[in-house]
Symmetry: C2
Subunit: 186 residues, 2 copies
DNA sequence: TCAAAGTGGAACACTGATGTTCCGTTTCGG
DNA sequence: CCGAAACGGAACATCAGTGTTCCACTTTGA
């Protein structure tokens, strides 16, 4: 039997990617954007969009899958289990910031919050646990609060990048500094 | 001529309040909730809702006004200009947390972000400026970043209160501790 | 080159939200 | 107690988004 292909070939792959990318962009701008606007943003006919994603929920599922994959990539690039937990956390910040509009989707509820839990909670909980062993994380804060602080400050960083004209480098510096100080043991 | 009354009397005031309260609650649950659902949540007929707020935008405007008023109240209760900036910031945290669902509306974009700017930025900027003078605020962080950190952690605190079974007192403690450490001068 | 694959647009039915009108009933205040 | 104010529900027109079908036009690759 023919396996369901994650990777389609040639034109189909390009079109599909254009649609998903446009969906992420437009959904970040307005969570209740119409499929017609997404199709326009992808420079594609609405008919074609429905050919790839018969229902709106199918498109959202593709965006969810994209998000999960990008989260996994970020974890891999940050090499969470190398060096001290503190170093790993510093490496993770700029990687997460590369998620871009996907951060908006995660924070505005376009995607269910469970996406964060399923894709990111395990590696982050392990990271926090490691940080507690070496005594570098504030024992007065919950595991969930420590991780939540990372996400909350990350959203601030992304919002700052989008709105103000603050340079990416400065934003990353403030992000790492704030998270580090907030969760570090006194 | 008869002045437009901010405060209506008797039955009208009660009904109006029930509708606005229900709108805040339901909009926090789902930003694209229908007017029918809001009317149901307010135990009011949809006709009645339209009698008070002819269009959806009129209801949203009332919610916006409510938010601004509640923000002003919070600032007043926190007495931002008494004591040190650090003390004032500690007093402000639990007051802001009392905003409840309004925090969700501010963070999910149901209300334009300008609501925060217009109602809260002036007092907060003054507070941060005062904190800088006495050297208690980290000079490596922007004014906007300091204020943004407050809001970001506040949203984490509210989300923690809603989802998990964490006690309000513990959430307030972690919120004040995290904000304090994050923005304090080293 | 030529058929298959991919695409876009027009047209259609369907649905749910919105805003409005009308009218009978309930509630409240003088 | 009684009239005015407030209310709820039914019905209606309107509108935008959705999902579908059909057909003609490109692009592609064997």
């Amino acid at each position: 039997m023919t396996e369901v292909q994650d990777v389609e070939k040639g034109a189909r792959a390009r079109t599909r990617r254009a649609i998903v990318d446009a969906a992420v962009r437009e959904l970040a701008r307005d969570a209740s954007v119409s499929l017609g606007q997404i199709a326009d943003a992808a420079s594609v006919g609405r008919t074609t969009l429905h050919r790839y994603f018969p229902e709106r929920s199918d498109l959202l599922e593709a965006v969810r899958a994209e998000t999960t994959a990008r989260l996994d990539e970020a974890h891999a690039r940050a090499r969470l289990d190398e060096g001290t937990a503190r170093e790993a956390l510093r490496r993770l910040c700029p990687e997460y910031l590369l998620l871009g509009d996907l951060l908006t989707l995660l924070f505005t509820g376009v995607l269910p919050e469970s996406v964060i839990d399923e894709a990111a909670d395990d590696p982050l909980l392990a990271l926090v646990a490691r940080g507690r062993e070496d005594g570098s994380i504030d024992p007065a804060l919950d595991d969930a609060w420590v991780i939540g602080t990372l996400w909350a400050q990350l959203y601030l960083a992304w919002a700052t990048l989008c709105e103000a004209g603050t340079a990416r480098h400065d934003v990353v510096q403030m992000l790492m500094r704030t998270v580090d100080k907030a969760v570090a043991a006194p």
